[in-house]
């Protein structure tokens, strides 16, 4: 490995360049894949919290109204009169906006994993790169000095990534039948586990990472990206979000 490691003067000193392989090995403690999985899991947790704002309110009101023996008509009339639904929905919207910002912040953190010199993608295409801006810059310069190795065009990279994404979606559908996932509507506490759903949920992570990589690292046309995002949403909805033991396949 050392023989192939190029060196370059940076900020007045000589430092050893790391090849991608070396970077990956040195960074094995928390891999890029793990970071991406963690990001996807966290986003899902955030989405679940958003859903709770509304569902818990509905439950609290329904349980109390029942205990007071209030008729549905009276409850409906009072809800409209006091505009309580509107207030709760307004808070739900606020929660959604907070979730959107949190997701953006997560994307920014993940960008540190995903943003790569275009040339690096051509060779590796796993979204892995030297982890610090300084190392990325060095790597970029090194790559610029070796153009003979990187002849693939940007369009080819996008096409290849799209094809890989489509294959991942097809594999997912073949391994985890969507009808079976959609048929899971209720989970049992305390763990809310389901063998098929749990595996499918985990299998969503690399697909999500690939979609993110396509968005952040390539010049994919927005219509094409939206089309792929819809494909992702179908899979994500098939797995669904768990709220109080119920699996919501509609969000």
């Amino acid at each position: 490995m050392e023989n192939s490691t190029p060196e370059r003067k940076v900020a007045g000193g000589e430092i050893a360049l790391r090849s991608p392989e070396t970077t990956t090995i040195e960074n094995v403690e928390v891999s890029n894949e793990k970071v991406l999985e963690h990001a996807a899991d966290t986003k899902r947790q955030i989405e679940e919290q958003v859903a709770e704002v509304l569902s818990e309110a509905e439950q609290k009101i329904a349980i109390s109204a029942k205990s007071m023996n209030v008729s549905p008509e009276m409850l409906d009339e009072m809800s409209k009169e006091k505009e309580v639904d509107g207030e709760v929905v307004s808070m739900w919207s606020e929660a959604k906006e907070l979730a959107r910002k949190a997701a953006q912040d997560i994307d920014t953190v993940v960008e540190g994993v995903l943003i790569t010199p275009e040339s690096y993608l051509q060779e590796n295409d796993k979204g892995q790169l030297p982890p610090t801006p300084e190392e990325r810059e060095i790597y970029k310069q090194w790559r610029a000095g070796h153009p003979e190795n990187y002849t693939q065009s940007k369009t080819e990279v996008v096409s290849q990534s799209i094809e890989e994404f489509s294959n991942m979606v097809a594999n997912f559908e073949a391994t985890y039948p969507l009808e079976e996932l959609l048929a899971i509507t209720e989970l049992t506490p305390p763990d809310y586990e389901h063998p098929l759903r749990d595996l499918a949920k985990k299998a969503l992570n690399p697909i999500f990472a690939k979609l993110n990589a396509l968005k952040n690292e390539t010049n994919i046309p927005s219509e094409k990206y939206e089309e792929l995002k819809r494909q992702w949403k179908v899979l994500s909805n098939a797995v669904g979000l768990v709220n109080k033991g119920m699996v919501d396949h509609t969000r």
Binding site: E26, N27, E29, V30, S31, N32, K34, V35, H38, A39, T42, Q45, I46, Q49, V50, E52, V53, E56, A57, K60, I61, S64, A65, M68, N69, V70, M74, L75, M78, S79, K82, V84, E87, V88, M91, E94, A95, L98, A99, A102, D105, I106, V109, V110, G112, V113, P131, T132
Partner: protein, 54 residues
């Protein structure tokens, strides 16, 4: 070498903690609205029962 991905993972955790704190505040506000509404509903229901007894 510093494990930058560990830092990224931690940063994501921090975002979740921050979000959960904000949502918790929002939920308290929501619960306060619901409590107020249920109080009025209870009062209305008691009046309804009283009227039916008369």
């Amino acid at each position: 070498m510093t494990n930058n991905n560990a830092k990224r993972k931690k940063a994501i955790d921090d975002i979740l903690v921050d979000y959960t704190t904000k949502i918790s505040t929002l939920k308290k506000k929501r619960d306060s609205v619901i409590t107020g509404f249920l109080g009025i509903l209870k009062e209305r229901r008691i009046n309804e029962v009283r009227q039916s007894i008369k």
